[in-house]
């Protein structure tokens, strides 16, 4: 069975500090990977997607970057956090254009 794990579960970070969120998928080779962001009470906004190792496409610019260093790993990061980065970050995987499966999410509070 496939599993998706996100880390950390939650973080409180200072404005201007760096951030790294991670996502690991087990049990599925060469999945498509996605990062989404959700403001409190809001909808999901797609940030990035990756079809293969080393290749990441940006969907919306939010002063964030993403990388896929391994087939089963997707990293979201920034060197300087803004207050507007607060929210809930969700990683998802899918095969070709089929059903998306989401991780449990990482909650970020920027102070």
């Amino acid at each position: 069975a496939q599993t998706i794990h996100q880390w950390p579960v939650a973080e409180i970070k200072a404005v201007g500090s760096p951030l790294s969120l991670g996502c690991t998928i087990k049990g599925k080779s060469s999945p498509n990977l996605y990062w989404y962001w959700q403001a409190t009470g809001g909808t999901l906004q797609q940030l990035f997607y990756s079809i293969t190792v080393g290749q990441v496409e940006s969907v919306v610019q939010l002063n964030l970057s993403a990388s896929r260093p391994k087939d089963d790993q997707f990293i979201l990061s920034t060197e300087k956090l803004l207050l507007s980065h607060s929210g809930f970050y969700l990683c998802a995987w899918g095969i070709q254009e089929n059903t998306l499966y989401f991780g449990e999410g990482s909650r970020l509070i920027v102070v």
Binding site: N32, Y34, Y36, Q38, G42, T43, L44, Q45, Q46, Y49, I51, E57, V59, F88, L90, A92, E97, N98, T99, L100, Y101, F102, G103, E104, G105, R107
Partner: protein, 108 residues
């Protein structure tokens, strides 16, 4: 404006009753997915639809690409159906546009 608009935005149901949620698209959707987000934040996929209908237990969903809408019917609502329902439209391959969401509360 919102490219994928859901209605109603919030709904309260008595346990055992039925309801319908709707999703209207202003983009040319080729497929639609429906998700349920629980209070902890994780999303569960309910349906993946090409134009047509699907049924799974007490849930039934339809997608009409020509009229640009999708519906999710809940029959015999249960307490565990509470949460936020999102539809999401795919019209550009790997880019999925999520709707505004419907917050559902099922009361005993």
């Amino acid at each position: 404006g919102d490219k994928v608009k859901q209605s109603p935005s919030a709904l309260s149901l008595q346990e055992g009753t039925n309801s319908a949620l709707r999703c209207n698209f202003s983009i040319a959707a080729t497929t639609v997915q429906w998700f349920l987000q629980n209070p902890r934040g994780s999303l569960m996929n309910l349906f993946y639809l090409v134009p047509g209908t699907k049924e799974n237990g007490r849930l039934k969903s339809a997608f009409d690409s020509k009229e640009s809408y999708s519906t999710l019917h809940i029959r015999d609502a249960q307490l565990e159906d509470s949460g936020t329902y999102f539809c999401a439209a795919d019209n550009m391959g790997y880019k999925l546009t999520f709707g505004t969401g419907t917050s559902l509360l099922v009361d005993p």
